[in-house]
């Protein structure tokens, strides 16, 4: 009997995971390569180079780290599309030469916080050659309040120093308990948190406990030391309805105020997003899974928007990227958009409030 389109798709998917399962860690990247090659063969993927363009400048890069974020993995019996995407990102980062000093994973590794989803993600990220730092997102957290995530990756709030820069990783997806009262099951709570446009949701916060921790952590850091903060949600306020928002953002910003050069790198928004508030530069991260539309209000004026994504290209509007930490303290942020030209948002651009080094905007609408 002739198979229909969906049955053929299921066969392809089984065959794909069969190949992934047979490969050892050493060959894992070949699997990712296969995924990319498959997409390229359909003509949907533009070949691109992830290699940076070297720019000679006085305020040169001191070091580079890469990021991958918001992969929203389902268990592989359900969905392979998002698996292909994170493998593509792993492939990108492993192909960087020289290798980045480390990789930040920006949260929402899982879609519904399932142990199988998180375990699958952990296994995929093991294939990264560089050291990986993990951050938690609400999709990882609200099934078991982070139990499985912590057992795989350790603390959700921590700091470390690297080449003279102080890095802080926060859990910025804390919301007040709105599930105990109505008696939601863990899965119902997870699904409520997973719905971006949930009208009954609550705003993200860093919370008093972490703010106290942050204050004491930074007490031993000198004001001239560059500080880079990783948070899943933006540490400022764009649009409350979608939690493109952190409710105690101002209080966190006040704690960061004494430092000369502060950069916040966040996930959750799945798009190019730039902002500056005083001494703090803000950069969003791309998702590997899908792009979000821009929120209907609250977009910072320094944001250079990416074009609306083409739904017919599953990788358009998605991607990964890297961050060049400059010797002066702030960073140049690279968005590696898979089906488009990469876009750099520089420290000079944000530092000059948009007067200098404006990122190239795409005029060719490719959908």
């Amino acid at each position: 009997m002739k198979k229909d389109r969906f049955e053929k798709y299921l066969d392809d998917r089984d065959a794909y995971f069969g190949r992934v399962a047979r490969l050892g860690r050493r060959d894992f990247i070949t699997a990712a390569g296969l995924a990319a090659a498959g997409a390229a063969a359909t003509g949907k993927l533009l070949p691109h180079s992830f290699q940076p363009v070297d720019v000679v400048r006085a305020d040169g890069p001191s070091f580079r780290f890469a990021y991958i974020s918001d992969s929203h993995l389902y268990e592989k019996t359900l969905n392979e599309r998002f698996v292909r995407a994170i493998l593509k990102a792993v492939d990108d980062v492993n192909a960087m030469n020289p290798q980045p000093d480390f990789v930040l994973y920006g949260g929402d590794l899982a879609q519904l916080g399932q142990p199988g989803e998180l375990g699958e993600g952990a296994q995929i990220l093991k294939a990264l050659k560089a050291k990986t730092y993990m951050m938690v997102g609400e999709h990882d957290w609200y099934l078991d309040m982070g139990e499985k995530w912590r057992s795989l990756f350790g603390k959700d709030t921590y700091s470390f120093d690297h080449k003279g820069v102080h890095f802080v990783v926060l859990n910025s997806v804390i919301v007040e308990d709105y599930w105990t009262g109505p008696g939601l099951t863990p899965m119902q709570r997870m699904q409520a948190m997973a719905q971006l446009d949930n009208p009954n949701g609550r705003p993200f916060t860093v919370g008093a406990a972490q703010r106290d921790w942050l204050g004491s952590d930074l007490a031993k850091v000198k004001p001239e030391t560059p500080v880079i903060v990783f948070s899943h949600s933006p540490l400022y306020k764009i649009y409350k309805n979608w939690n493109f928002w952190t409710d105690d953002a101002e209080q966190v910003q006040t704690i960061l105020q004494p430092f000369k050069n502060v950069t916040v790198i966040h996930g959750h928004t799945h798009q190019m997003l730039s902002n500056r508030i005083g001494n703090i530069h803000f950069h969003g991260m791309l998702s590997t899974a899908w792009p979000w539309p821009y929120a209907p209000q609250g977009l910072p004026k320094l944001t250079v928007r990416m074009n609306r994504a083409d739904p017919f290209d599953e990788f358009d509007g998605c991607g990964d990227g890297f961050v060049d930490v400059l010797s002066a303290g702030h960073v140049d942020k690279q968005y590696n958009l898979w089906s488009r030209n990469p876009v750099k948002v520089s420290a000079a651009y944000l530092g000059s409030d948009g007067a200098a080094d404006r990122p190239a905007t795409e005029t060719d609408v490719n959908y």
Binding site: R5, F6, Y9, Y74, L78, N79, E80, R81, Q111, Q195, L196, D197, N241, W242, W290, P291, W292, P293, P296, R308, D310, P311, F312, E314, V365, Y367
Partner: protein, 224 residues
Amino acid sequence: MATKTIRKLLLGAALTAAFLFPVARANDDTSVSLCDGQSVMTIPGLKAGEVLTPERARTVAAEMLQVWSKSAGEERWASWKAEAASARPEPAPVAAPGPQTPPAAAAPGQPTKFTKRDLQLWGREEKKWIEDGYKAYHNAKALGGTIGISCDMCHPDGSNTHPETYPKYQQQLKKVALLRDMINWCIENPLKGKPLAENDPTLRAVEAYILSTRKGVALEAGKH
């Protein structure tokens, strides 16, 4: 007005027995439950299949009304009466076509056959339709999706669906598309489901939800 309507309804019901549900029969008496699903009364001497005379039906309807208002109906009766008292005729929203009253006479407050209750009823129906669409839009399986992806994952609050720009030439499809064509495209591709028939109630409900998110936005058919 509400009293009148109920009387008419019950009379009709008594005449045709369409709203009456026989629940028990002893000799030639028929026990019937009313359309509120709770009140029960007996019609003495009514045989199976017998149709009441109009006079008898009027009496029965009046009795039924009493039974009903003595039971669960009391509270709703009062609220309906209050609602009917507060209902004022709405100004006609649009002039009907054809040779009618000159525009000068169409001043605010002009009587119309529609009441606030009519509008409330229509609003409720519309809301239900949109809510059904909202549910399917936010449920990966409701549209036949098979890989856990639902509409809201890429289009929170209906964003980036721009329904007001259809019909338009969808260059990827190489043909002119309507919003429902794109909903079906999404069902088939990102959701990995099977496209729905044009008259499928779920498809129509999702279309209604998406359109409702852009209420008041100007139509720009053919916009890219």
